[in-house]
Each structure stands twice: as C-alpha cells, then as structure tokens.
C-alpha cells in the first residue's frame, strides 16, 4: 500500500514475469503429463531407477521417491484418459480435413462433369443458323432450349443449395429438345418422372452425362436411331434413375468413358458406398444405365 506511484510499473513487470513463469510451469506440467501418458511403463521404470540413484547421490531420496510414486499413480489413473482425449482430438481434426478434402474433390469432379461438349455446341449453332433462314419460329424455339440448357449446365458457384432431380430433368429435357430437332425422326424420347420426385436430391450433371452417352454411343451410331427414356422411382428408401436407349449396345472394349468413371468417383465421394451406378444390358438390346442414391427431399428454403 505504501509503495509509491513510481513503483507501480515495476510491480506490473513483476506480475507479468510471474504470469509468464506460471504459464511456463503449466506448460511444463502438461508436457510432463503428456509424456507420462504416452511413455511406456518400461521407460518410466528405468527413469525412476535413475532418479532414485540421483536422489541417493544428492542424499535426499525422499522428494524423488514421492515424485516417482506420484508419476506412477498419475500415469495409471489419468494417462489413459489424456491419451484418449489426444487421440479423439486428432481424429476430429483428421475428419475435418477429410471432409474438407472430399468437398473440394467433389467440386472439382462436378465441374469436370459440367463441361459442355464443343461438338454439341457448334452443331447446335449450325442448325439454328440454318433454321433462321428456313423456319424462324423453330430457330427461336431451338435457341431458347439452348439457352435453358446452358443456364442450367453452368456450374453454380454462389448457389449452396443441393441440386434436385427436377432441375436435372429440366436440363436434360432442354438438351433432348435440341437433339430431337437435329436428329429428326431418329430420336424419340419418353420421360417418366413422377411430379412427387421433382424435389428429391440428385447430384448435378450425372443424369445429363448418361443422356449424352445414350445419344452419342447408343443412338447416334445407329442409322435408324431409336428411343431414349428417362425413368425415376423410389423403392426401399432409394431413388433410382434409369436412362435407357434402344441403340447399338455397350461395347466391352469402350474405354469406359471419362463420364462414367467420373460419376462412379463422385458417388463414392458424396455417398460413401450408399449409391451406385449400374450399366445394365436389357434382354431386347440397347443399354440401361441406372444411378441409385439415398432418397432425400431437398430443403424447402432452397428456392
């Protein structure tokens, strides 16, 4: 109380020093504690013997003896818990990193899948160019389909909402409208997607990849063309989406296609074994690709 104002700074410094000292001691203690928790019993025993010898040399074995006994008790009682805590926090950190990595991987794979095939774009523009001269209203309808297709095929950066089956079907419908104009009577389409499944969660661009494959590898190579159908159903809590074509069928030598490999990889990342892509061979020819994912309804606030 009598200390003058001039001495206050000194006192502050001392307090600071004390605080640092205390922090250092606490730090040291926890390090010691961590070391105790993980050190093998055998090592602890050897260290104890050395400490006893040191105590003997210093001729005051008692404090060392107490320290040793305390160490053994601490290790026995708290070591396991401490170690479990450490392992748990490491696991949480690892899980966070993993989840983060998965999110990045999925974004990357989804962007790859969203690439628009230049061949499709240029051919469509060439068709519109021709229709402008011969059938302007039809040219306008085709251009609108192209705009709708491009708008929904562009990867959405800001939108955090999960894509729905309805959006994915709309995208493929726009694509099929364009292809129907280009392929004439060589392409017939049938969509069977119940209204109730429009809001089901379904990953982006996967349906479209299957539709593009069905056209490019199934129907386009066939001179007479054929039927492409999209069908969705829910069974046993799973949403199955089938894309079927009556085209030339699946060649076992085809290099698997980047598209299908990408879908498989993304399903693994997104659903961790709870989703699959199956390429079926219908008895009457063609190909039927099916994606099955857990059935979930997208959150209502997504709109």
């Amino acid at each position: 109380m009598n200390t003058g104002n001039e001495e206050m700074p000194l006192s502050d410094t001392t307090k600071q020093n004390l605080r640092e000292l205390r922090d250092a001691a606490v730090e040291l203690w926890w390090r010691f504690f961590d070391w105790l928790a993980v050190v093998p019993w055998k090592t602890l025993a050897i260290v104890s013997v050395l400490m006893l010898v040191l105590g003997g040399i210093l001729q005051s074995p008692q404090p060392f003896f107490i320290l040793i006994v305390a160490s053994f008790i601490i290790k026995a009682v708290a070591g396991g818990k401490r170690r479990a805590d450490l392992t748990a926090s490491q696991a949480i950190q690892r899980a966070d990193t993993e989840q983060h990595e998965r999110a990045i991987l999925e974004a990357h794979l989804a962007a790859l899948q969203a690439q628009i095939e230049p061949h499709f774009l240029f051919n469509t523009l060439a068709s519109i160019d021709q229709l402008i001269l011969t059938d302007p209203p039809r040219a306008s309808r085709m251009q609108q389909s192209l705009i709708r297709y491009l708008r929904s095929a562009m990867p959405k950066m800001r939108d955090g909402a999960r894509p729905t089956l309805g959006q994915q079907v709309d995208l493929s419908r726009a694509f099929l409208e364009i292809m129907a104009v280009r392929m004439d009577d060589r392409l017939r389409t049938a969509l069977h997607v119940p209204a109730g499944l429009q809001s089901a969660v379904f990953p982006s661009m996967m349906l479209q990849t299957l539709v593009e494959n069905a056209i490019r590898h199934g129907l386009e190579p066939k001179a007479v063309g054929g039927l492409l159908s999209i069908q969705a159903e829910v069974a046993d809590g799973k949403l199955a989406v089938h894309v079927r074509d009556t085209g030339v069928g699946f060649a076992p030598q085809s290099a698997a296609g980047v598209g299908l490999a990408n879908i498989r990889e993304r399903l693994k990342v997104l659903y961790n074994g709870r989703a699959e892509l199956v390429i079926g061979v219908p008895a009457d020819g063609g190909t039927c690709a099916t994606i099955t994912v857990p059935y979930e309804i997208a959150a209502a606030d997504a709109a």
Partner: protein, 257 residues
C-alpha cells in the same frame, strides 16, 4: 452436251438440316453444280457415290454406321472429297497440311465460294488417293497417340436376374469354376461363360496377371504375397481377404517383390 458436262456432287450428313444448309450454300456459290444424291450415313454415302459417280462428295466426319474418314478411305480416288465438320480440332489441323479441303459448319458463304473455286480448278484432274492422310486422320480422331483400344474394359455378367456391365477396375479376380468363370468384385460375385484362357488374351496384361491356370488377379488388388505352411506362394486380395494360390509356373511374377 452441256448438261452431261455439268459437275455433280453427293452430300452426306446424318442431320437433315445440315444437308439442306450445304445444298443451299452450294446453290448460291455454284449454280451449275448438280446435287445428285444425299446420304444420312457413311455406308449410304459410299453406295451413292459408287452408283451415281459424282465428281465431288461432301462428307460429314461424324456419321453413323461408317464415319466420314472411313467412307473417304473406301472411296479413295473415285471422287474429290470435301470434309464437313462442326468441331474436330485434331482433324482440322490435319486438313491444313493436306490436299483435302474442308468446310466448317455453319458453312460461311464466302468460305464455300473459295472451296467451290478450288474444286472447279481440280475437276479436270483425277481425284488423288489420300491413303496416308486418311490413316493419320483416323488415328487423330481415335484419340491421338497409340491408345490400346481393344483390351476388355467391361465384362458382361449375370447379376441377380439381370445382365450388367462390370468395369474391370471393379474386379478383384477371376477364377475358373467348373463350366463358368467366377467374377469377384468388392461387393458381389457373378458368373460368366468366358473361360480364363480367353480372358487372358482379351484383358490388359498390365491390369490383370494370371497367377494360376484357373486364376487371374487384378494387380492393384493384390494386398500381399506370402507362403502357406506347405511353402507355396499365396496372394491375399485387398478388400476380400480371400487367398489365391500361385502355381509354380507363375511364381516368377512375384520374385522381385
């Protein structure tokens, strides 16, 4: 007399609008040119050119049945070829160095006029056979470098009550089983009729190794190789834990491992 001298052409494209477009542009740029036929695929194009013997054939590159390059190979020397494409980056760079002309869709009237001018100049000469250029083109279109295209990448198998295509990358091993061959993936097993002997020839030898007369294992699926109590080499398969015996004659595969 003049009529028989009028130059003739066939247009081949699988999309009707594109055939109409080329025909319309040609009418404007070269009114004397007679379009004597239109084809919707490569095979039709070849048949039409053989029956109508036009001076020129316009060939879309991507067509069903037979693509434009294959059609040109089949027709080599029988008509002047102009390729038509919307977008084929590899092909276009090849055309730039070759004697063959090409048009990009949508056909630009000025560009069509240049093509017609070149064709007029060439009409008196015989069409050049373009074997080498076409071989290069078809290779470029196939994906550039010598990519092994003919190895089996999918196996057709009965699973449950349907038939499906299983990617070879999902398969852990094949094992001969009486009349059938068992296909084991990490999730299920299926039976196929194709014997191991045929699979050995058809699969990528870098992807699957034969370790026994009756067993083919995917190299990436091998977890470890050990010896059993009788001293025989045994392969443990990842994800299934199943052990597969290695016969003596294939033991050398794992010698350096």
């Amino acid at each position: 007399m003049q009529d028989t001298r009028a130059p003739t052409a066939v247009i081949a494209d699988d999309e009707r609008l594109m055939r109409e477009q080329i025909a319309a542009r040609l009418r404007d740029a070269w009114p004397e040119l007679r379009i004597v036929g239109e084809a919707a695929n490569g095979r039709e194009a070849v048949a039409l050119v053989r029956s109508r013997e036009p001076d020129i054939v316009f060939l879309d590159i991507r067509m069903p049945e037979m693509d434009g390059i294959e059609a040109a190979q089949a027709l080599s020397g029988s008509a002047h070829v102009v390729f038509v494409t919307a977008y084929d980056e590899y092909a276009i760079t090849a055309f730039d160095h070759g004697a063959v002309d090409y048009l990009l869709k949508p056909a630009d009237p000025e560009r069509v006029a240049i093509t017609c001018q070149r064709l007029r100049e060439r009409l008196d000469t015989r069409p050049e056979p373009m074997g080498e250029l076409l071989a290069e083109l078809s290779q470029r279109l196939a994906g550039g470098a010598a990519r092994p295209r003919d190895h089996l990448r999918w196996v057709q198998a009965s699973v449950g009550n349907g038939i499906r295509m299983i990617p070879t990358s999902d398969i852990l091993f094949f094992r001969a089983d009486e009349k059938y061959t068992r296909v084991q993936t990490g999730v299920f097993e299926a039976l196929i009729r194709k014997p191991i002997k045929e699979l050995v020839d058809e699969l990528d030898p870098d992807e699957f190794w034969q370790i026994h007369r009756a067993i083919l294992v995917r190299v990436d699926a091998v977890d470890k190789v050990s010896r059993d109590d009788r001293g025989r080499q045994v392969v443990t398969v990842k994800g299934s834990g199943e052990k597969l015996e290695v016969s003596r004659s294939f033991g050398h595969l794992f010698r350096q491992m």
